[in-house]
């Protein structure tokens, strides 16, 4: 009977659980409690959360910009001038979109660095590591297409070089070029393509992958942390309310910073692009200056395509081929992840060095 009763109790409890509403996505991301050490600011610097908030800001401000932006040769730059100077608070919205985009690239880059330096990509988070790398590429392409949609004299070199790089890719290059440029050379159809890529080809997929990435964080056992050792007292836990409050604080601080930047340092805007009269000095957006510097070294397909793609491939395969053991996951500068740490800091140093060299040139 006892056995039967126990079985019954378990069944009742299971049935109640099934009949109760499924936890929302919010609840999934915010469990009733979580170990406080996972949520320590110095453990993650809140970079993933800040990136998510900034992405939501981008969605909101981008949606507002949709009401004014015209993806046409005569309308693109003029509609941005209208938005910036003539629409009430339009300049602020555009400034928020611009600065949020720059902050997103920066936080995503630092987030990647943090993940590498804390060994957070290791088993069982290898798949989420791949999703994260995909998001990095998506964010960079989003920022580049957004930059190109300005369609002013400042972007003309970068767009020309960027799209011509596509052409150099063996086999698929011409097809990719056609998909982005929409014709034999940059023109009216390119604006439509870039516009569609920016919103439907990039922002929507990135939105979906972000949700997946976040889902996987909890599904993989929360933010990477050292496994508990036997005999250690149970770690302190943080409640859902405290977690939400911390997120709110980060959102408030980031919001204040973004509004301040948008108002005090409005994004640049030049006259309409003219690809027949390019500016004397080629310029790339800040996050691709390192590619511009690489291109100075030789063959465009090698330095502009294969080298960046190679870096990405190495990063993607790293936890599958080089660093397959879970030791040291969730620890800053663990002795088990020295090779990864050298790789991360080495790559960061090269990218920052190339960027500084290009910026000071």
């Amino acid at each position: 009977m006892v056995t039967n009763n126990t079985t019954e109790l378990v069944q009742i409890s299971h049935n109640e659980a099934c009949m109760s509403p499924r936890p929302s996505f919010f609840s999934h991301l915010h469990p009733p409690t979580l170990p406080a050490r996972e949520a320590r600011f110095r453990h993650t610097f809140g970079l993933g959360g800040i990136a998510l908030f900034v992405f939501l800001v981008l969605c909101l401000t981008g949606a507002l910009e949709l009401f004014y932006y015209e993806p046409s040769l005569t309308g693109a730059n003029a509609s941005l001038q209208t938005l910036t100077f003539l629409v009430p608070l339009g300049g602020l919205v555009r400034g928020l979109h611009y600065w949020a985009a720059q902050l997103l690239v920066a936080t995503v880059g630092l987030h990647l660095l943090r993940v590498m330096l804390t060994g957070a990509y290791k088993l069982p988070r290898r798949f989420n590591w791949l999703l994260g790398l995909g998001l990095l590429v998506g964010v960079l392409l989003l920022d580049f297409t957004g930059y190109a949609l300005r369609w002013d004299t400042h972007i003309s070199w970068a767009l020309l070089v960027g799209t011509n790089l596509l052409k150099t890719i063996p086999v698929v290059g011409p097809v990719l070029y056609g998909m982005v440029v929409g014709g034999p050379e940059l023109g009216a159809s390119s604006l439509i393509r870039l516009y569609a890529w920016h919103i439907f080809g990039l922002a929507v997929p990135v939105f979906i992958v972000i949700a997946w990435h976040l889902f996987r964080v909890r599904r993989d056992g929360g933010i990477a942390h050292p496994s508990a050792t036997a005999g250690e007292p149970a770690p302190a836990r943080l409640t859902r309310a405290e977690l939400v409050q911390r997120e709110g604080l980060a959102a408030l601080v980031v919001s204040a910073g973004l509004v301040l930047l948008a108002a005090a340092a409005p994004p640049a805007l030049g006259p309409a692009a003219d690809f027949a009269a390019l500016p004397v000095r080629p310029t790339a957006p800040w996050f691709f200056i390192w590619v511009q510097e690489l291109l100075r070294l030789g063959e465009p397909v090698v330095w502009g395509v294969l080298v960046p793609a190679g870096i990405l491939a190495v990063l993607a395969l790293w936890p599958y081929i080089v660093d397959r053991r879970p030791d040291g996951a969730g620890q800053w500068f663990s002795r088990h992840g020295r090779a990864t740490q050298w790789l991360a800091l080495g790559l960061a140093a090269i990218l920052v060095g190339l960027t500084l060299r290009g910026a000071l040139r």
Binding site: L249, A256, L269, G270
Partner: protein, 426 residues
């Protein structure tokens, strides 16, 4: 900081930042829209330039706006962006950009028959090419074998006074040191050269060099709030206006400022400091008659003389042809005249641009030997000749040689012969 303190503190910071943005938005100047009827494209230049003078009655702001002539970004309210695509900076009439800004069949590059070919005429005029001065100096220093004009300030093609095709090449940088000095020190008065930055020399380039007046100090005295007043500028007009009422001192920004010394290849600025018009008008060595002192240069020198007639003349003497007899006649001939019967007569068009001179259909005006109208000189019904100053509107009765005691010989009509008796004491 504890979370319960940090949250409200961050909220206050955000509220303060939003408040600052709201204050900036509320206190920012309201955009001022203008939709010129010619372009139909709304522009916002007047947001900053509200109060600027209308450039001329022939170019009403409501019709032309700003961008049609100046270029620039019509929607931008940021100074750098708004001005980034200006053509010719503040001066759209600079000869490097005048065709783009002021040209067009309906504007200033029409046909010679319609007298709307202003740009083509100016581009071939000696004021723009400086071809004669270059040819003379290059010949004098052995750089070319004759006085034929070969070079201009810019390359231009046309016909010479004999009607033969003629082209000037752009003047290349000189190799001989003396010609290098000539190019640096002496090529300063053509219409593409910026003025010397000193009192009395200030003027703009291109059409505005003559038609936009500069004062001696080179200051702006108009009502555009963005232009600094009382700050001398090298190439700055007194106001944002074009005029055909051009006083002599505008011409004197280039003419009568001094002399070139070909030995040292320098320009010696005249050292006298005249305080009256008699002495200011011409250099001390020059002779002049009363009318040459009292009238302004444009009262006698015609549009063809000043702006060119579409021919590549080799020098100033070749294009100047108005003589004393054009208005005063000779012992045997009164001045040539014509009665205006065509409502589209060029004389009426020019008079309409210069409201100081009343002229109407049916009036009889003096014409030059080439048939150019001297539309400010009329023969009145009583047979007398009246000149109205294009600049001041003052009227003068023109003494006639016919029937006078003048001792002139029929073949001595150059001004030097008239100066022999009629030069004023200086």
């Amino acid at each position: 900081m504890k979370l319960r303190l940090a949250l409200p503190a961050a909220a206050v910071v955000l509220a303060l930042v939003l408040g600052w943005v709201a204050w900036r938005t509320v206190t920012a100047p309201r955009p001022v829209a203008l939709t010129p009827s010619l372009t139909g494209q709304t522009e916002y230049c007047l947001t900053c330039h509200q109060g600027i003078e209308q450039i001329s009655a022939a170019h009403p702001t409501s019709v032309f706006g700003c961008v049609r002539c100046h270029g620039g970004e019509p929607l931008a309210l940021d100074k750098t962006l708004a001005h980034s695509t200006l053509r010719g900076g503040a001066n759209p009439s600079d000869l490097a950009v005048v065709q783009q800004n002021c040209g067009g069949a309906a504007c200033h590059s029409g046909t010679a028959a319609d007298q709307n070919d202003h740009i083509a005429r100016v581009m071939t005029s000696v004021q723009a090419t400086y071809a004669g001065a270059i040819a003379n100096v290059y010949y004098a220093f052995g750089a070319q074998p004759d006085l034929a004009t070969r070079f201009g300030i810019f390359a231009v093609a046309g016909v010479d006074p004999a009607g033969q095709p003629h082209a000037l090449a752009a003047l290349p940088p000189a190799i001989q040191p003396v010609l290098q000095k000539f190019q640096i020190n002496c090529l300063t008065c053509h219409l593409s050269a910026p003025a010397k930055n000193s009192a009395g020399f200030r003027r703009l380039t291109g059409c505005a060099g003559c038609h936009s007046l500069s004062n001696a100090a080179g200051t702006y005295t108009g009502t555009d709030p963005t232009l600094a007043r009382n700050q001398p500028g090298q190439t700055q007009a007194q106001t944002h206006t074009l005029t055909t009422a051009i006083p002599y001192n505008q011409c004197n920004a280039c003419h009568n400022r001094g002399n070139y010394d070909l030995r040292t290849m320098t320009f010696n600025v005249r050292t006298d400091q005249p305080t009256d018009r008699l002495h200011d008008y011409y250099q001390p060595i020059a002779q002049c008659t009363k009318c040459e002192v009292e009238l302004d240069c444009v009262d006698c020198h015609t549009a063809d003389e000043a702006m060119g007639d579409g021919t590549l003349h080799p020098n100033e003497a070749s294009i100047q042809y108005v003589e004393c007899r054009t208005c005063h006649g000779t012992l045997t001939q009164p001045p040539q005249t014509k009665t205006i019967t065509d409502p589209n007569d060029i004389a009426l068009r020019r008079a309409a641009l210069n409201t100081t001179v009343p002229l109407k259909l049916g009036d009889t005006i003096v014409v030059t030997s080439k048939g150019e109208p001297l539309w400010s000189v009329q023969r009145l019904p009583d047979g007398s000749y009246r000149q109205v100053s294009k600049v001041t509107g003052a009227t003068y009765t023109i003494p006639q040689v016919l029937g006078s005691k003048c001792l002139q010989k029929p073949d001595e009509q150059a001004s030097s012969y008239c100066h022999a008796c009629h030069a004023v004491q200086r």
